[in-house]
């Protein structure tokens, strides 16, 4: 897979990281890591996917055991949790 700078820039925007001033540096590093990541493309495998080792099955809760509530977090909010001032821009 060939990666161009545009792709790297797009990816950085997807994860909300501004790299425009260091694009060359990040591009080179990205490319280097992808060189190794690409080794995985042609490996021959069966169809199984492994999500988590020792995958647990059918675990649920059915009681209202609220061990940790977040009261402290919101101790002084009445209307809601104030987030940020929006700008008209």
């Amino acid at each position: 897979m060939n990666i161009d700078k545009k792709t790297v820039l797009h990816v950085s925007k997807l994860c909300r990281i501004d790299i425009e001033n260091d694009l060359d540096k990040y591009y080179k590093e990205f490319e280097a890591i992808m060189d190794s990541v690409n080794e995985i493309i042609d490996v021959e495998v069966t169809e199984e996917l492994m999500v988590v080792p020792n995958q647990q099955k059918n675990r649920y809760f059915s009681t209202s055991d609220l061990r940790i509530s977040s009261e402290e977090f919101f101790c002084d909010s009445k209307r809601g949790f104030k987030v940020f001032k929006r700008c008209s821009k």
């Binding site: 059918n58 675990r59 209202s64 509530s69 919101f74 209307r79 001032k85």
Partner: protein, 471 residues
């Protein structure tokens, strides 16, 4: 130029579980802001989600009611995007294995049954609620993590009318399953319509326009109508329909542009590594089926077969409580008579007294309606005694006996009327020759003889029947 419209609808419905989808915080509408919040709902670093089985059960019932195939091995997936109302930077949802898929519901369009295919129904968590005050934004996390089901149709809907019928049908089903409050105004049901149109002769569909934030079912219809016109106009003036997201502005009666989708959203779905997988066994499914109530369509069929009038069926099925109450006493009563009583006297008095049907003692009510269908009491007496029952009268049987002792049984009444007719042969002759004025004369005699201990309507009815036999 002729156009065709194609609509797909996405419904989000909040499940009315006790707790949230992935945390044990309470799922409660109308609490003070940020009261029902756990560290899991906030997505604080280091927290891990849990699974609420009640939500899975409810979603399973909904999937079964929508005739879906069930994914017996389910996983949850992460949908990644940034938004102020999304505490973790991702939403836990079901992408690869929706709990239900390939289902359908049937709607009645102009007397014809039409199948609307359901592509999928899946479980996900709700986001928090943003409140804007001046230029400040506030977040209420009470809604964060509330279980949702999302129901997505295939693009089977042709116009506003079908859309409304479909939405009403889904609303009714979810209400009957008792899995959601389905109140659009409270946000427990949300609708989005994907509208595209094409010229009749064209094969390819135009670009899809997504309309969000529609505040009522009827507005979904209005939004579709507006979109049809707007898109037609664009095509006729040679412009292209842009794939975009719009919202419906109730005041303007128009859809308004929210955002243009420049590139496809890349949600980077992948299996949620923090949760166990869920294996739904046949016994899980059987249990859900067993707990499911009779659904409105089946109920309508049953009532029709049993001879209940169409208008009464409509009234009864419109209320889950009323129909549920009816079904519970169904085997013990004359259902046609009872359907009449429920839709008249009962609804009238419940309304007047601001009471709920479930407050009425079933045993007493059964005795009351049976006394009426056996003609032991008049309809006026029924109404009077129903009010007593409504106000907590325990001894309805005794009441019936007291009233009844004053009343002639319908057999006695019949005998009396026959006697009166026989004694007034000349009046009978007049009746035979078409003089209907004698009816009044007969009624006068009956009321006099019974000293009023008879239901005049009932007496009149019996008199007419007997006269017509003799005539």
């Amino acid at each position: 130029m002729m156009f065709e419209t194609i609509v797909g609808i996405e419904i989000h419905a909040e499940l009315k579980t006790k707790n949230k989808m992935f945390s044990p915080a309470l799922n409660e509408f109308g609490s003070a802001p940020n009261k029902n919040v756990s560290v899991i709902d906030l997505g604080l670093p280091g927290t891990l989600p849990k699974i609420n089985y009640e939500a899975i059960e409810m979603a399973l019932k909904a999937a079964l009611a929508l005739n879906c195939k069930i994914n017996k091995k389910m996983q949850f997936d992460r949908k990644n995007y940034f938004y102020p109302d999304l505490p973790k930077g991702y939403q836990i949802t079901q992408n690869e294995t929706p709990i239900g898929y390939d289902g359908f519901v049937e709607i009645e369009v102009d007397g014809e049954t039409k199948k609307i295919n359901i592509e999928r129904i899946h479980i996900e968590e709700d986001t928090c609620k943003s409140l804007h005050e001046g230029d400040e934004t506030y977040l209420d996390y009470n809604r964060a993590g509330v279980p949702l089901i999302e129901i997505v149709t295939k693009p089977d809907i042709k116009n506003d009318k079908e859309a409304i019928l479909y939405l009403e049908k889904i609303r009714e089903i979810l209400l009957y399953l008792d899995v959601s409050d389905v109140k659009i105004e409270e946000g427990s049901m949300r609708c989005e319509a994907n509208v595209s149109i094409k010229k009749k002769e064209d094969l390819k569909l135009g670009n899809k326009v997504e309309v969000k934030n529609i505040g009522s079912i009827s507005n979904v219809g209005k939004a579709i109508l507006f979109e049809e016109k707007r898109q037609e106009k664009l095509i006729l003036s040679g412009e292209e329909i842009v794939t975009e997201t719009r919202r419906y502005d109730e005041k303007l009666g128009e859809t308004v542009l929210m955002r243009i989708k420049e590139t496809k959203n890349d949600y980077r779905y992948f299996p949620e590594p923090d949760l166990s997988i869920i294996m739904l066994s046949d016994s899980h499914i059987e249990k859900a089926k067993k707990e499911m109530p009779l659904l409105p369509d089946e109920m309508r069929k049953k009532f029709t077969l049993d001879g209940i009038s169409e208008i009464n069926i409509k009234t009864i099925v419109a209320s889950r409580e009323l129909s549920g109450y009816f079904l519970e006493i169904y085997e013990q009563v004359d259902v046609i008579e009872t359907s009449k009583i429920l839709t008249s006297v009962v609804l009238k008095q419940l309304n007047k007294n601001r009471k709920e049907i479930n407050e009425i003692d079933k045993e007493g009510f059964v005795k009351l309606v049976n006394a009426r269908s056996d003609k032991k009491i008049s309809s006026d007496q029924l109404e009077a005694m129903f009010v007593k029952l409504l106000n907590g009268e325990k001894n309805i049987e005794e009441q019936i006996e007291n009233e009844k002792s004053d009343m002639l049984t319908s057999q006695d009444l019949e005998k009396l009327i026959i006697t009166i007719i026989e004694q007034n042969q000349d009046s009978l002759d007049k009746y035979k020759s078409g003089d209907e004025r004698v009816l009044k004369h007969f009624m006068g005699l009956i009321m006099k003889e019974t000293k009023g201990k008879v239901d005049p309507k009932e007496a009149n009815k019996q008199l007419l029947e007997l006269l017509s036999k003799l005539a």
